[in-house]
């Protein structure tokens, strides 16, 4: 039976073009079940850098960014502020890594002028690292043109007015910066820093998770799944030891 099938296929195979080329054995051919049991290097999480800032080295930029972050997530009875929870260190590590480099983006030109209209979301060729650089530069320039003090030294109420203006499209920072998109990027970064695993430098003491009651990197809720509607008060755990 098997032979018949193979024979039939061979007759079909005679149609193959008979160009002579070098035989090739691919280096990436996997034959047999791979026997390795070691965790693949690329899949081990990369902890945040602990040797000082790598990207956010411009003091004027970082000072503004820290003030913005702490208006997004201020310190209050529900927990620490964004910077107290490590969101600057978190973002710095992210900007230094593949995300900051736009490593996954399709960046071929041209960027069509009607791209945003079509996709209904802003489109960029610039990397997140470049967008933070130009965005913070433009925000500082806008503040120096319109205010009597640096952003970080303005009253919280005025800081909130400026941020609301950026969020709602009432303030255009100019300098080629897509202001609303820059605002959204900063807001998403602060949420990522406040609510991601502490291994990445933010969410110190799992403060973000404790605020909402998220138990973190747990992997088995079978003991709790039947207790529907009950407050479970589970102590969160992280990918890295906390004690």
């Amino acid at each position: 039976m098997k032979m018949n099938r193979r024979e039939a296929l061979r007759s079909l195979g005679a149609l193959t073009a008979s160009v002579t080329v070098a035989p090739y054995l691919g280096a990436n051919e996997v034959k047999g079940f791979p026997q390795g049991t070691v965790l693949d290097e690329e899949f081990v999480p990369t902890p945040s850098h602990t040797g000082g800032l790598q990207v956010l080295n411009n003091d004027a930029h970082r000072r503004t960014l820290a003030a913005v972050f702490d208006r997004f997530i201020p310190a209050d009875e529900l927990g620490p502020s964004a910077t107290q929870a490590g969101c600057i260190e978190f973002l710095d590590a992210q900007l230094a890594g593949p995300w900051g480099e736009g490593a996954t983006m399709y960046r071929d030109t041209p960027l069509q002028p009607h791209a945003e209209e079509l996709t209904q979301l802003p489109q960029f060729i610039a990397t997140p690292r470049e967008r933070y650089e130009t965005g913070l530069e433009a925000l500082n320039k806008w503040v120096s043109d319109n205010e009597d003090a640096e952003f970080a030294d303005l009253a919280p109420e005025r800081q909130d007015e400026i941020l609301t203006g950026m969020e709602q499209g009432d303030i255009d920072l100019g300098q080629g910066v897509h202001t609303k998109a820059f605002f959204e990027m900063m807001l998403l970064s602060v949420r990522e820093g406040y609510f991601s695993d502490p291994i990445y430098g933010g969410n110190r003491d799992m403060a973000g998770w404790k605020m909402i009651g998220f138990p973190g990197a747990r992997y088995d809720y079978r003991l709790y799944a039947d207790r529907t509607g009950e407050k479970l008060d589970l102590i969160p755990v992280s990918l890295i030891p906390q004690d």
Binding site: M1, L9, D76, Q112, D197, F214, Y219, A225, L232
Partner: protein, 591 residues
């Protein structure tokens, strides 16, 4: 000059669900099979064990298991007169990055399509008249295969994957607890349905009061351990909730890795070439067959893999692009409606309602990717459309999953500040009080919804990107608006204090907003070679030793997730190849 590998009986392009299921069938039948996958090898213990898996930033936010747009994207436009633009960041394309494809990171909703979905054109004409099937915009066509013909292969897929659920219809007998609208199945699911969590309880109570029939969504997150027909053992789901965009550390989410590779990889007549990107199928001089495929290997070299049979089993965008690049069949022309490759792109038409409660304890971190309740009372043709301005419908479902804190921070009642102390207060409360009604709606093909090669943008190998031209059909817009209103009624019955309806089809279609990632069509199947690229056995009409398998073959999309149907079609085609085609290579049906 291209290098050339030894000839295989069968080459499989893309080792996801389709490729793995076919390779399993074909190697068991004694054929020598080589699979080529664009991704690297990945598996449970060596890549996504529990020690690295529960990490929202890495897998949900950065999407590290997905093929990046840098390597794989497309351009898109709504209308023929627009210049298409590339999707530069992650959007609706959620292709797998490694071996296993999207089958490695999928959530696990494991549906069968409804019998109606395979015969939309015929049944619409029968019940409502031809003017409803031919409204000047829709381009309906039957699949050339019926639900009943596909049933044994759905069954086989469910056994291999160990699907958890409760049958609603066994051999025509309606069973309590299941979906009463499903097509008749021959037996119960392999494993029982998953647990009913809090949001599902609220939904089930409310919809029952309204006279609907809620049921638990069939899941590839297994409620119990299972040993499948290949002898592969799976574990029970631990309700960790890290499924969609994640691997599974428990061997409890069905995937090629968890269900097939342990058997397949041990067979001496199988091997897989990883990190090889197939760019074309090579045509034979006879004009009726193909000789194999050409791929670009990890080092950037062109390599030829000759084979007697070629099976394209990649994601639908890749199947379509390879077909267009290979110039095997006529590309679709939206102006004349002639040509077959690229036609019948469809999506999924999504509406629904966000809901917030005041004193619930949802515990949204307990969950599973496919865990939820659904009603099918407004899906497919389960309700009378005589007085409605559309055909089709949506499964209205609620989910017990997605309690991940970065993404969930955006799910606050309308008018809540998105930042500041008031944001923190609101989030601390509503994290435990949010739910969704998600209408997973059907999507009907249109004359101008199609795929071709982009004239302006290329990929890293210099191959043109795929270009999508698509917007929602008016039919589907009407359907989404109608089912959105039904969702709001359910949300009110559930006792939500805040309800925000949503309808993606109220705006033009875009690849950037992830309404769904269920894209289908491009190499549609059918009984008529004038309107289909592959016959009902997924065999190319123009090259009889070429089979194009996957959601690329769907002529229209149903109000369900596609994977179950992808699996059933793949097994059916593989059986046809080793039971019929190899004995007598040629067209399996007359054109």
């Amino acid at each position: 000059m291209a290098s050339k590998r030894p000839k295989a009986d069968v080459v499989i392009v893309g080792l996801g669900w389709s490729g793995a299921l076919m390779a399993e069938e074909l190697t068991r039948a004694g054929l020598n099979v080589v699979a080529i996958d664009r991704g690297a090898w990945q598996d449970t213990s060596t890549h996504t064990p529990p020690a690295v898996n529960p990490d929202e930033l890495r897998w949900s936010s950065r999407k590290e298991l997905l093929s990046p747009p840098k390597d794989n994207t497309m351009t898109f436009r709504n209308r023929l007169d627009q210049v298409a633009v590339p999707q530069r960041d992650y959007g609706i394309l959620e292709l797998g990055k490694g071996v296993g494809g999207a089958g490695f990171h999928w959530a696990g909703m494991a549906w069968r399509f409804n019998p109606w979905d395979f015969e939309v054109r015929t049944r619409t004409i029968e019940r409502y008249g031809i003017e409803r099937a031919e409204d000047g915009e829709l381009q309906l066509q039957d699949w050339g295969v019926t639900y009943d013909e596909l049933e044994p292969f759905y069954d086989r897929f469910e056994r291999i994957a160990g699907i958890s659920g409760t049958a609603g219809n066994i051999n025509g007998e309606i069973k309590p607890g299941g979906n009463p609208y499903e097509g008749p199945r021959t037996r119960e699911y392999p494993t029982p349905e998953l647990k009913t969590l809090r949001m599902m309880e609220i939904f089930n109570d409310a919809t029952r009061k309204m006279g609907h029939t809620p049921f638990t969504i069939p899941a590839a997150n297994l409620s119990e351990p299972w040993v499948n027909p290949l002898g592969v053992a799976m574990g029970a789901c631990s309700y960790c909730g890290f499924c969609l965009a994640y691997g599974c550390g428990n061997y409890s989410k069905s995937s090629p890795q968890a269900c097939i590779f342990p058997a397949l990889m041990r067979r001496p007549n199988f091997s897989v070439i990883t990190e090889g990107c197939v760019i074309r199928v090579n045509k034979a001089e006879d004009g009726q067959t193909v000789t194999g495929v050409t791929y670009i290997d990890k080092g950037g070299r062109e390599v030829e893999q000759p084979a007697d049979i070629v099976c394209l089993t990649a994601f639908m965008v890749d199947n379509t692009r390879i077909m267009l690049n290979s110039e095997i069949s006529e590309p679709y022309n939206p102006n004349t409606q002639e040509g077959v490759v690229g036609r019948n792109f469809s999506f999924q038409t999504i509406s629904g309602a966000h809901m917030w409660f005041e004193d619930e304890q949802i515990n949204p971190f307990v969950g599973a990717g496919a865990l939820g309740s659904q009603i099918d009372d407004y899906n497919g043709d389960n309700f009378d459309h005589s007085d409605l301005d559309f055909i089709g419908g949506a499964g209205i479902l609620t989910l017990s999953r997605d309690g991940l804190p970065i993404a969930r921070a955006e799910s606050l009642p309308e008018g809540t500040p998105r930042w500041g102390s008031d944001f923190k207060k609101a989030y601390a409360k509503y994290y435990q009080n949010y739910g969704i009604l998600f209408n997973q709606g059907s999507s009907m093909p249109t004359r101008t919804g199609y795929l071709d090669l982009d004239p302006n943008y290329k990929d890293k190998f210099g191959v043109p990107l795929l270009r999508l031209t698509y917007d929602y059909a008016q039919n589907d817009r009407n359907m989404a608006a109608y089912t959105m209103d039904r969702a709001v009624e359910i949300a009110e019955q559930m006792g939500a204090s805040h309800i925000t309806p949503f309808n993606f089809a109220a705006e033009p279609f875009t690849t950037a907003k992830i309404a769904s990632d269920h894209v289908i069509g491009g190499v549609p199947m059918g009984a008529d070679p004038a309107t289909s690229a592959v016959n009902p056995w997924l065999q190319s009409w123009d090259a009889h030793n070429l089979f194009v398998v996957g959601a690329s073959a769907f002529p229209n999309n149903a109000g369900y997730n596609p994977t179950g149907t992808v699996g059933a079609l793949a097994i059916r085609t593989a059986r046809a190849i080793h039971e019929r085609y190899v004995q007598n290579p040629g067209p399996l049906v007359e054109s």
